[in-house]
Each structure stands twice: as C-alpha cells, then as structure tokens.
C-alpha cells in the first residue's frame, strides 16, 4: 500500500496507512482527483463522515485491537471532542444512529438465521408428515368428508387471522359511520 500523503512516522502497517489516507485525503469535487484534506479546517459535515468512518474502523472482535483500531479510536475521540465543542448534541445523535445501525444489522442477521432454520430438514419433515397423515385420512374416510373438515378448519383459521380481523374491524367502523349518518339524516329537522 503506497502512502498517498506521506507521513513521517515509521512502523505503520498497511491497514493504518490505508485508514490515514482515507482521513487525510478527499476527492476533489471538480476533477475527482485525490487531494489532501486540511484537518485543521474540517467542516462539521465532513467531521461527521469521518466519525462514521472511524467508528467502523475502531471496532475489533475477540482478537486484541490492531494498530489501525487503536489509531482510529484515538482519532475518533479527538474528532468527537471537537465536534461536541461546536454542536454538543451531535455526538449523542451519532451514537444513537450507530446503535440503530447495529440493531438493524442484528435484525438482518436474525432474519437470515430464521430463513436458514426454515430450510432445514426438520420443518419440511413436519409438513410432509402432516400431508401423509391427511392422505391416510383420505384413504380411511371418504374424500368428501375430508373436504368438509378441511374447509371448516381453513374457514375457522381464516376467521381468526389478522387479515380477517382487520377487514371485519374496518367493516364495523364503516357500518357504524353509515348508521350514524343515516340516523342524523332521519332526525334532521
């Protein structure tokens, strides 16, 4: 990894140099070329972007923090402190944003896990077993009886479902409104 904006410090690993390049450089809006960023005159919007970048870069797992993690943490603390001087609420809001992003990622992971769980062997076996039992019932009892029982089961399940309950509630509201308006119409002098 080449250092785009050379710095007079030895012993930096590639990850740290990459991180520093991202922080110390930015793309020129006109030409799109990389130009050095003046860190002493950073706008709040730029600082917010940098804080987001550094928050991600400072995260580490079970392994001890790497050099880039440590550098990112130090820069993150400094930038947060500077931003708090200008806008005291901003670090708290950024923290909440990061928490929400974490919750979103956790929910996504849970959903992926749920989808994996559904495709495992266990649940298809339950469904297949149920189908086999119904087929055996069809053999024992007349199919028309099975149709009647199945229809009753599905209709009762549908009656209790959220979809039907919502539709019923909407219908009752509409009915109440109609009755109310017709009652007003009758009593109108």
């Amino acid at each position: 990894m080449r250092d785009r904006f050379p710095i007079d410090i030895d012993g930096l690993d590639e990850e740290t140099i990459r991180l520093l390049n991202e922080i110390r450089g930015k793309d020129d809006t006109d030409t799109g070329a990389g130009i050095p960023r003046d860190l002493s005159k950073v706008k709040v919007s730029e600082a917010v972007d940098l804080i987001r970048l550094l928050r991600t870069a400072s995260e580490f797992g079970k392994d001890p923090p790497s050099q880039s993690n440590i550098v990112a943490r130090q820069l993150f603390a400094t930038l947060n402190e500077r931003v708090a001087q200008v806008s005291p609420d901003l670090p708290r809001l950024l923290e909440q944003e990061a928490c929400l992003a974490g919750a979103r990622d956790a929910a996504r992971d849970q959903y992926i896990e749920f989808l994996k769980e559904r495709s495992r062997l266990g649940k298809p076996l339950v469904y297949l077993g149920a189908s086999l039992l119904i087929y055996l019932a069809c053999l024992v009892v007349k199919p028309i009886v099975v149709v009647a029982i199945g229809t009753l089961m599905s209709l009762s399940a549908f009656w209790r479902s959220s979809l039907c309950r919502t539709a019923r509630a909407a219908f009752y509201v509409r009915l109440a409104e109609t009755l109310e308006s017709s009652r007003r119409g009758i009593h109108k002098p």
Binding site: A130, S131, V146, M153, A157, S161
Partner: protein
C-alpha cells in the same frame, strides 16, 4: 401407478402447507393458526386431487 398417484397427492398437499401465501393469509395472534389453516387447505386440495385422480 397407485404409488405415483399417492406421491402426486402428497406432493400437492406438501406444497400447499409450505406455501408462504397461506402463511400470510392465516397469520394471526395464535402462532399455530396459520398451520391449522394450511393443513385444512391441504386437506381440501389433497381430497380434491384424490377425487380427480
């Protein structure tokens, strides 16, 4: 031939029970409500398929 008919009937019922569409249709506060609805629908489909076959 009998086995093919049986397999076809069970497969059609299995597809019905596995259907996400039925899951959404019968979903409610009771977590097993959708399963009861799906089994009922599968019974109807299975019996109809058996009558046709």
């Amino acid at each position: 031939m009998l086995y093919i008919k049986a397999a076809f009937t069970i497969l059609s019922m299995w597809l019905v029970v596995r259907s996400n569409w039925l899951h959404n249709l019968f979903a409610g506060s009771d977590p097993f409500n959708w399963f009861i609805g799906a089994i009922g629908t599968a019974a109807v489909v299975g019996a109809v398929v058996r009558i046709i076959l």
